[in-house]
Symmetry: C2
Subunit: 191 residues, 2 copies
DNA sequence: TTAAGTTTGGGACAAATGTCCTTTTTTTAG
DNA sequence: CTAAAAAAAGGACATTTGTCCCAAACTTAA
């Protein structure tokens, strides 16, 4: 449930350690800080070095839908680079967070000059699409309880790591409904 | 709502027309033919030359969730290439369909040797992610009527082009609920 | 043109989820 | 340790969506 991308993290770690270029800068965030704002124009691609962040979209009524929880190695901001577009989602730190940033120009340079990086970015995008396809189809085809159970199985530390309102917004339901499902699963001794 | 990718279509059209290579083959399907099966290993990347297809996932109970409607220029099968994985979704023709196919090796060759193609594929993947993010957040944050109305606005020929069961499976609701919403919107003179 | 077959729409009720607000539990300040 | 404040849980009712099935409308064959 918390996405990670170890191969990308390893690769970027090496580039960042290489003193001969300064493609990559590093930035620290304490919890609950906005890393990118919904609707921003952005000039940097971001990759998570450590920590957890949430990527979410707020609609006109102020309702929130959490797209993904980002963990180590996850890249973001790249979508907007490719489409020369404003950000669709906000990204906010949930723990202490360390982020690698690469400027638009350096990102393109790396993509063009480094086939390994190019491949890693292609794979990262493909993984995001696959993940979304499965997640959304599940969430439409199953009732809340089933989805919650699935989540708990994939990620046993769920309730320790993620606050309830976030779990609710990730499942696309209200907190009330989430509580109901938790209670019912507990009564059935399923969680 | 029916995805298209004109820039990719134009590019591929040129490569296909170039007699000096035979990277690209062409295939015809009549309506309601399976182009790729869910769970297949695939060895080709596909790009739609003309026609419409649906991309959908069937769960254990036989319920269907339609991910996207593919129109001209849409690439598919690429996700599975990058992740060396089985297909998550099936793709089925809805009209007469003409498809360009590129073998795994030629696809990689093109990606490596042709920066323009590389960029187009990156952009295609990014567009898919953005589309899914917006679509799914809408579908969670709005009631059926709102989503149906949105769809109808984006795509006025909706009811002429797409069969009702498909619209229902795209919205992630039952046909009964779709009918209810249609009736209610008609009564309010909104469609 | 009509009767059987087939498809489409909708009624009635059931189940799931949301809204609103009160109760219970936890945290904080003094 | 206690009272106030804040956060979390849940009761009661409303609304939305789903299930099941029957009725209406449309096709088809004779």
């Amino acid at each position: 449930m918390i996405r990670i991308n170890r191969e990308l993290l390893d690769f970027i770690g090496k580039i960042a350690a290489d003193e001969s270029n300064n493609f990559i800068s590093q930035h620290n965030f304490s919890p609950k800080k906005i890393v990118i704002e919904q609707g921003d124009k952005i000039e940097f691609v971001h990759i998570i070095k450590s920590g957890i962040a949430k990527c979410y979209l707020t609609n006109e009524d102020g309702n929130i839908f959490i797209q993904e929880f980002f963990g180590e190695g996850v890249i973001f901001g790249e979508i907007e680079m490719f489409n020369e577009d404003e950000t669709v989602c906000a990204v906010e730190s949930m723990t202490d967070l360390v982020i690698y940033k690469i400027s638009r120009n350096n990102f393109y340079k790396l993509l063009e000059e480094n086939p390994q990086f190019n491949r890693l970015v292609l794979r990262a995008l493909a993984a995001k699409i696959k993940f979304k396809a499965i997640r959304y189809s599940n969430s439409h085809l199953n009732p809340i309880e089933t989805n919650l159970l699935l989540l708990k199985k994939q990620f046993p530390e769920l309730f320790k790591t993620i606050a309830k309102p976030d779990i609710a917004n990730y499942l696309g339901v209200t907190e009330r409904s989430l509580n109901r499902s938790i209670k019912s699963l507990r009564e059935k001794k399923l969680i």
